[in-house]
Amino acid sequence: MIQGAVMFAVRPAVASIDFARRGEREMRRRAGDGLERATIAIIDGALADGIADRIADRLLAGPELERIVAKALEQPGVERIVNQLIASPVIQDAIARVADDAIARLRDSPAMWALIDEIAQSPSVSEAITAQGYGFADQVGDDIRERSRHADARLERLAWRLLRRRSPPGGAAPSTAGAT
C-alpha cells in the first residue's frame, strides 16, 4: 500500500523528466540541422568565390604537396597498396586491354610499317645481324676447339700412364710444346 502511494507521488516527476529529455533531443536535432545547413552554405559560397580553386593552386604550386606525397611514398603501406592494386584483376585486365588496343593500332598504322622497313634496311641492322651470326659461329668453334684440346691432353696422359706401366721407367713424357 505504501509502495502504491510512492509510485503515485513519483509518476508526475518521471513524466516531466521524460518530457524534458524529448525536448532536449528535439532541440539538438534542430540545432544540428541548422549547423549542417550553415556549413553547406559556407562551403557553397567558398566554392562560388573560387576559394577552393585558389587553395588547390596554392597547394599545387607550393612544396607542401611534394612533401606530403614524398612522406606518403615512404610509408610501407603505400608499397603494399600499390602491389595489391597491380595484382588486382581489374588492373591486369585494364593493362591487357590497353596493350591489345595499342598493338592493334600500331599494326594498322602505315607509318609504323614504314619505320620498320626503314630500320630493317639500315646498314647498322645488317651489320649487327652479321656480327651476331659470326659471334655465334665463333662461339661454337671455340667451344669445339677447347674441348678437343682438353681431350688431346687427357688421351696423351692416359697413353703415357699405360706405357709407363709396361715400359721400363725413365721414359720422359712427350713434350706438347716446342719449336718447329
Binding site: 639500315s122 641492322v125 651476331q132 678437343s148 688431346d152 706438347t176 710444346a177 716446342g178 719449336a179
Partner: protein, 160 residues
C-alpha cells in the same frame, strides 16, 4: 712457342673432312644414279661405271686433302678445329707432292690397327706415321682476334 695438335683434335678434324667428302660424293652419285635410272643401261656398263665412280671418288678424296694441305695447310675440318699442317723445318704448308704422299700414307697408318695414328700419343712432336714420312707436323693455329660485335645503332647516320 708452337703447340702440336693432338689425336682427338686431329680425329675430329678428319671426321669433319670425311663428312664433307662423303656428302659431295653421295650427292654426285645420287644425281648420276637418277640420270642413269631414266636410261636403259646394260648391267655390264653399270658395273664399269661403278668402278669408274669409285676411282673418281678416291681421286676426289686425295685431291681434296692434297689441295688444301698444299694451299694453306688447312682443310675445312682443320680450319674448324684450328690446326694446320706445316713442314717440320719451316712452318710453311707442304708442297703438292708431299701433300699427295701424305694422303697416300693415311691408309698405311691405318692398316696396323691404326698404330700409325696412335704414334701421335707418344711422339714428342705428336707426329703420326704420315708426318714422319713426309716431314710435317700439325700445329695449333693461334686464335684469331674476336669480331667486334658492338654496332652504334642509335646514331641517326647509321640508319641511312
Amino acid at each position: 712457342m708452337t703447340e702440336y695438335a693432338g689425336l682427338a683434335t686431329r680425329t675430329v678434324a678428319f671426321a669433319v673432312d670425311a663428312a664433307i667428302i662423303n656428302l659431295v660424293a653421295w650427292g654426285v652419285a645420287a644425281v648420276v644414279a637418277l640420270g642413269l635410272s631414266l636410261l636403259k643401261v646394260p648391267d655390264d656398263v653399270v658395273t664399269v661405271m661403278a668402278v669408274i665412280g669409285a676411282v673418281i671418288a678416291v681421286g676426289w678424296a686425295i685431291s681434296y686433302f692434297a689441295y688444301f694441305w698444299s694451299a694453306t695447310g688447312q682443310t675445312p675440318g682443320d680450319r674448324l678445329l684450328g690446326i694446320q699442317v706445316v713442314q717440320a723445318g719451316g712452318g710453311e704448308p707442304p708442297h703438292l707432292g708431299r701433300a699427295v704422299v701424305r694422303v697416300l700414307c693415311l691408309p698405311l697408318a691405318a692398316i696396323p690397327l691404326c698404330a700409325g695414328f696412335l704414334m701421335i700419343l707418344v711422339d714428342r712432336r705428336r707426329r703420326a706415321l704420315q708426318d714422319v714420312v713426309v716431314g710435317t707436323v700439325v700445329i695449333y693455329v693461334r686464335e684469331p682476334e674476336p669480331v667486334p660485335t658492338h654496332v652504334p645503332v642509335g646514331s641517326a647516320k647509321a640508319l641511312h
